[in-house]
């Protein structure tokens, strides 16, 4: 079949590879301004921007003949959990003929999860072959995340602006073409080498900002107006609280792992509020404990879980003496407003760090 899936950051490389190995033809649509126009035209007005972007990419893929959409569902009281079903309805009403496979958490229904795998994988591969394929591609996903983490360290230190971003693009291609686990490992080494070779200022001490918020706008640069690149090129080292490998581990295969986020959030919020609301609160505490200079919260406009988190953050920020900035994202593609806020925020935390150092010395 001709398959498409949600486009989110570097994970598209992995999903493409999985689908191709399963013998499908793949349509990958990187979100663009046209995606936005299509998505906003056919989505309910008050849906959030991730919904609109994904709906737009599905429409573009269906135009190119895709007939299977593979996506994930979700748990918890965030409406994104039902987005797949709603998108399926909208697209069918528009007259497209396709099938949609929605992966819900393994813990919700064992049977559905595996029958969905079978649906996508076809009947020829054995479970063992499927397992091996998933294991390999999982490794590829981890490698991509590791490479991206390294770019966050290199970018603020690069001597020529833009070098890291170019090398990162090259690295993604190297990882994409690797066929076996062995080759992926080599691709990782090669990518690390390329990134470490980017001319850098070894003495530069960047400010450190942690990124929290809703998963889609955190992971997809098109949705967040390339926040990580913009901050990196302002000389800031960023750390992202969410990576797809982390999320998948928590939500699909295993019981939630104990990484201290829930514990850290507890004095402020002791229950799930949907989406990543709890994580946003907990991670702010963790970033403060780990000596970060500030936190930036990314939220789709009208996102309830992040609105809840935002109203709690002033207290966390005060208790832990860590400034935070909330950026709501929607249809706007003009970067000037976001850049202004980021610049001012970086000024603020730079002054704060200088002050703290003056006090010590």
């Amino acid at each position: 079949m001709k398959v498409t899936f949600p486009y989110m950051g570097t994970s598209n490389i992995v999903f493409k590879s999985i689908m191709e190995e399963l013998g499908h033809e793949v349509v990958v649509k990187k979100p663009s301004k046209r995606t936005l126009s299509l998505g906003t035209e056919h989505a309910p007005e008050f849906a959030c921007i991730p919904f609109k972007i994904l709906l737009g990419t599905y429409l573009e893929s269906l135009e190119e003949g895709a007939d299977l959409i593979v996506t994930s569902g979700g748990r918890g009281p965030c409406r994104a959990g039902h987005y797949a079903q709603l998108q399926e309805k909208i697209l069918h009403n528009l007259g497209y003929d396709f099938e949609m496979v929605v992966f819900e958490a393994l813990t919700d229904s064992f049977k559905d999860f595996f029958s969905n795998i079978r649906k996508v994988a076809g009947s020829e591969l054995s479970w063992w072959q499927i397992f091996k394929l998933i294991k390999k591609e999982w490794y590829r996903l981890m490698v991509l995340d590791d490479i991206e983490r390294l770019t966050h360290k290199v970018r603020p230190r690069e001597l020529k602006k833009g070098t890291t971003t170019n090398v990162f693009a090259e690295a993604q291609e190297i990882v994409a073409v690797a066929k076996t686990e062995e080759e992926i490992k080599k691709a990782k080494e090669k990518s690390f080498e390329l990134l470490n070779d980017v001319p850098q200022d070894p003495n530069y001490e960047p400010l450190k900002i942690g990124i929290i918020g809703e998963i889609y706008v955190v992971l997809e640069p098109f949705a967040n107006l390339e926040l990580e690149k913009t901050l990196g090129e302002m000389g800031v080292e960023v750390d992202r609280s969410i990576y797809l490998t982390g999320w998948t581990k928590d939500h699909t295969f295993f019981v939630p792992k104990k990484d201290g986020v829930e514990e850290a959030a507890k004095p402020y919020l002791d229950q799930l509020v949907g989406g990543h609301g709890l994580d946003s609160v907990g991670n702010t505490v963790l970033y403060a404990q780990n000596g970060f200079d500030g936190v930036i919260q990314l939220a789709p406009f009208t996102c309830i879980p992040e609105i809840v988190a935002k109203s709690i953050l002033p207290e966390v920020s005060k208790d832990w003496n860590i400034p935070f900035l909330t950026i709501f994202l929607d249809e706007k593609t003009g970067k000037a407003g976001v850049t202004t806020r980021l610049e001012a925020f970086v000024d603020l935390i730079a002054k704060k760090r200088d002050e703290a150092r003056d006090r010590i010395s």
Partner: protein, 319 residues
């Protein structure tokens, strides 16, 4: 005498000021941007040169506002700084112990919290322009009242009418309905001022530690109705600085002065004759990839001098 030029190119107004070495305002100009930032800067410079004393030599130039990058290319700026920082610098220069700055401009509203002269927190309206200068302008025009008298009328009210303030569309229809019911104009305008202040405090002011002294600046600070509504809501005195409408430009000039004085450098100012040069901006959509970047380029007498808006390095100018 040494002068430092600050230029704030905002969405609605473009302001130019010249300050002396003590940071006092020597001259200020307030113009409407009208979507033509380059023209208006050139016009402003022309006016400024005529009104400025002959013995003043420009030693430094700073730009700020949403048009700061564009303007810095045209005039040759020593500092290019965002308006949040510029505004904070200006208010703590004029009111040294300021702890809260309320700022409402044409399209932006923001709050800045300072402690000991340092910005410790800020917020800016993100998605809606309700409660900003543009909306007040619009309503004044709709009611046929000069914007200058709008605030004074609010002060005459004895019985404020409640107006919805969350969204400019809601506010406008609520105002119209109340008018149709026969409420008088003063009460409606006072209600609008109160609604905008409520919306501001609830939106950008949410979760902020608002402590006195409170400075209120930006174009809307001229509106006494809004000033009064702030004083009532915050139960404190509101300070509106003399040059409240050009604080961004003052901040930009102060930043340029600091840089020049600290680094001991010569200014990059291109001189007053930039008003004679023809700058033409143009834009195109790059179709190299799905990003479809809107690339903007500036030509100086026909030659490309700057280009931005692209994400990759395809359109970088060769240095």
């Amino acid at each position: 005498m040494n002068g430092y030029l600050g230029i704030d190119v905002g969405s609605v107004s473009t302001n130019l000021v010249v300050i002396n070495s003590e940071g006092e305002v020597l001259e200020k100009i307030y113009l409407r941007t009208k979507g033509q930032p380059i023209d208006v800067v050139q016009r402003g410079l022309k006016e400024l040169k005529q009104s400025l004393a002959d013995d003043i030599e420009i030693k430094g130039v700073g730009t700020t506002g949403s048009g700061r990058n564009l303007t810095s290319v045209v005039v040759g700026a020593d500092t290019v700084k965002n308006e949040i920082t510029a505004h904070a610098v200006a208010s703590s220069h004029i009111v040294p112990d300021v702890r809260t700055v309320l700022e409402i401009g044409g399209q932006d509203s923001k709050i800045t919290i300072l402690r000991n002269g340092i910005v410790v927190d800020f917020a800016m309206n993100t998605v809606c322009a309700a409660g900003t200068g543009s909306f007040l302008d619009q309503q004044a025009a709709r009611l046929g009242i000069p914007i200058e008298d709008f605030g004074k009328m609010a002060l005459k009210s004895k019985n404020k009418v409640r107006i919805a303030g969350r969204c400019s569309v809601f506010a406008e229809s609520d105002m119209i309905h109340k008018q149709q019911m026969g409420h008088n104009l003063e009460d409606i305008i006072a209600g609008l001022c109160e609604a905008l202040v409520r919306n501001y405090l609830n939106n950008v002011g949410q979760g902020k530690d608002i402590l006195a002294p409170v400075v209120f600046q930006g174009g809307v600070a001229a509106n006494e109705g809004i000033k009064e509504a702030f004083a009532e809501a915050l139960e404190t005195e509101i300070v509106v600085p003399e040059h409240h409408d050009v604080m961004g430009a003052i901040g930009a000039a102060l930043l340029a002065k600091d840089k020049i004085v600290n680094d001991g450098e010569e200014t990059s100012f291109k001189g007053w004759n930039v008003t004679e040069i023809e700058y033409t901006p143009s834009s195109f959509e790059c179709e190299g990839c799905a990003n479809l970047c809107e690339v903007i380029e500036i030509r100086m007498d026909g030659e490309i001098v700057s280009r931005w808006g692209h994400r990759c390095n395809k359109w970088d100018l060769a240095q």
